[in-house]
């Protein structure tokens, strides 16, 4: 009976359901956007780092690394204070640590171009960051030889090829190195880099027995905070950056975005809810006589209330499912937004742009359920007052209504 009453006034039913549909589509799309953004951010973050903890000799203030006073001058090429190499062994023996990789990260010049130079031990580095994407040639395997791999962006800029030679300068020291391979990360700033054996870079910087960073991979990312605390308790002068904590900050930012988007959706849904209320009040007024007949032949207040509530819920359900379909269609456009670079700041910076990769649209059951439930809930709430008014009608007055 409820369905037939709605079907009898198709246009009004459709327009009212459309009001809910717009709100649900908006909520669904916005939730999908934030879910997709969250996944994209985490994916990009993982691609940027890969390790769980980075250990520095310095302190963190307001998110920036402040080096300590005892920084030794290494010709201005080294922005960080060194860490004695024995610390690597000590950290690797801590509980929860899966792998540890010592790194020297310095600025250098390769054939006249300023580059980031990373001295690393290939075996442990791969274990910690999850691998290097070598797209041409191969990774060097020696610990102290004059072989390097270069990023694709750098190779393109220097017109360098596998087997070619580079003059690599750090401070006042220069060494000729052979390019064994080209790596790709998809991030230009990462690809303007030279990865070289740790021993070579220690020799060029004069930092024998020292490194600038220690990258730590934990057995379980959830224990990263505990491991970071353990490192700080053993070596109070060292600082750690836990990726879990950083990710948490990213998630907090995305949660704030979700709340903001949801409030926009809530406004749209509230408007839709008023539409349902208006329609239901009109229905109650138009069908006053019908309510009177129903009550005159024995229908209870509850029956009448349920009848009108069912109509409201049907409007909500129809609007929600339509909105969901529209939202899914609209959300399919979202990955395109995230493909070709995520802007963490307001201005697109080609230096931080990420190579085109497909970002999968995130549609979780929770997003679907929340969107549909909100649509139905709004319609249900909007229908309460009209249904209550219909149920409370006096049959004698309702039957007389013309």
């Amino acid at each position: 009976m409820a369905y037939r009453n709605l079907a009898k006034r198709k246009l009004r039913f459709g327009l009212t359901a459309a009001g809910i549909a717009v709100g649900v589509a908006l909520v669904f799309s916005l939730l999908s956007i934030t879910a997709t953004a969250e996944q994209a951010a985490i994916q990009q973050f993982t691609r940027l780092v890969g390790y769980d903890i980075a250990v520095f000799n310095g302190s963190l203030r307001q998110g920036r690394l402040q080096t300590q006073r005892q920084q030794i001058s290494w010709g201005g090429a080294i922005p960080q204070s060194p860490i004695a190499e024995y610390v690597v062994e000590a950290i690797s023996s801590l509980q929860g640590v899966y792998a540890v990789s010592p790194v020297i990260a310095v600025r250098g010049i390769a054939n006249g171009t300023v580059v980031t130079v990373q001295g690393l031990v290939p075996q442990t580095y791969v274990e910690v960051v999850g691998g290097i994407n070598i797209v041409e040639g191969e990774m060097f395997s020696c610990g102290n030889c004059s072989e390097v791999v270069v990023g694709r962006s750098l190779a393109l800029e220097l017109n360098a090829t596998v087997g070619g030679r580079l003059n690599l300068s750090i401070g006042s020291n220069t060494s000729e190195v052979i390019i064994r391979g080209v790596f790709e990360t998809g991030i230009r700033i990462q690809e303007m880099a030279v990865y070289a054996p740790l021993g070579l870079i220690q020799r060029l910087t004069g930092m024998n027995g020292y490194v600038t960073q220690i990258l730590v991979k934990c057995r379980n990312p959830r224990v990263a905070e505990a491991v970071a605390n353990a490192i700080k308790s053993v070596f109070p002068s060292l600082s750690t950056i836990s990726m879990a904590a950083t990710l948490q900050r990213v998630e907090e930012a995305i949660n704030a975005m979700t709340v903001f988007f949801l409030s926009i959706g809530a406004v749209a849904l509230t408007a839709g809810g008023f539409g349902v209320m208006n329609t239901m009040f009109m229905a109650v007024v138009e069908r006053t006589r019908e309510v009177g007949i129903l009550k005159s032949i024995g229908a209870t207040d509850r029956f009448v209330f349920t009848l009108f509530m069912t109509e409201s819920i049907l409007i909500g359900l129809t609007g929600s499912l339509t909105g969901l379909a529209v939202g899914v269609g609209f959300s399919r456009l979202i990955p395109a937004v995230f493909t070709g670079g995520v802007r963490f700041s307001g201005v697109r910076n080609p230096q931080t742009s990420i190579s085109p990769r497909t970002t999968e649209l995130v549609i979780t059951p929770e997003v679907v359920l929340i969107s549909v439930a909100i649509g139905i809930a709004i319609a249900t709430i909007a229908g309460l007052l009209p249904a209550y008014r219909a149920a409370r009608m006096k049959p004698v007055e309702a039957v007389r209504y013309v």
């Binding site: 009898k8 005159s296 032949i297 024995g298 229908a299 029956f303």
Partner: protein, 241 residues
């Protein structure tokens, strides 16, 4: 025929307020109806016929006085009890048929049975019997808007009989149908009264309707001004004219 009283209305008053004005619709009405009777309330428009029917039918309440139907004190009923009374004890046939437009003929007749939580099989059987009784089996799946006034009135009668009510109240049943259909309707009323002993209380000022009544109450300005049976009815009708 049994002389058991099925309706006893005693000293009923009812006043309506329209803005600042008060209209005294019933001024101490007393009447009795015996089970199996066809009783007519005859009087001009505004005389209080419909108000009296509404009070007997439990869709309106008296300001004072008592109404007892089938041993139930209607004026004391509230809420669900009152709905239950309207559902099971009374069948109401309105002047404007008042069928539910989105339901078919069969569904309209079935509605009181559904409200009474009768099981589906029993409902279907009952609807079939009622459709046959009012001669509308062939129109079972039609909607009310495709029926003539007379046909709609017959559907309304079938719906009123659905739950085997103690009384059927009919408010101006001939007001919106032609003479031919009025005759058909009243023959149906007589048949139902004769075959199943159904009690009818009919508010009307149509002489064609009154001819079928065993007893008439003349009502004017909210007061019963005469009660007629048998040969007196013809006298009453001529004076009404």
């Amino acid at each position: 025929m049994s002389s058991e009283l099925i309706v006893a209305v005693k000293d009923v008053y009812k006043t309506y307020r329209y803005g600042k004005n008060y209209v005294r619709a019933l001024k101490g009405v007393t009447l009795e109806v015996v089970r199996g009777d066809i009783v007519c309330l005859v009087g001009p428009s505004g005389s209080g016929k419909t108000t009296l029917l509404n009070i007997i039918g439990g869709i309106d309440s008296p300001d004072s006085g008592s109404v007892i139907v089938d041993r139930i004190s209607v004026s004391k009923l509230r809420g669900r009890e009152l709905s239950d009374y309207r559902l099971k004890k009374v069948g109401y046939v309105f002047q404007f048929y008042n069928l539910i437009p989105v339901l078919t003929v069969a569904e309209n007749i079935e509605l009181p049975l559904t409200l009474a939580n009768v099981d589906k099989k029993t409902r279907e059987e009952r609807v079939k019997i009622l459709l046959e009784a009012v001669g509308l089996t062939h129109l079972a799946s039609r909607t009310p808007d495709s029926l003539s006034g007379g046909e709609q009135q017959r559907v309304a009668i079938a719906r009123a009989l659905a739950n085997n009510p103690a009384i059927v109240l009919m408010d101006e049943p001939s007001a919106n149908i032609d003479v031919e259909n009025t005759i058909k309707i009243m023959k149906l009323v007589e048949k139902l009264n004769r075959e199943i002993g159904q009690t009818f209380i009919i508010a009307t000022h149509d002489t064609l309707v009154v001819k079928s009544c065993f007893k008439i109450y003349r009502i004017r300005d909210g007061v019963i001004i005469g009660r007629y049976t048998g040969d007196d009815i013809a006298k009453a009708l001529s004076s009404e004219a």
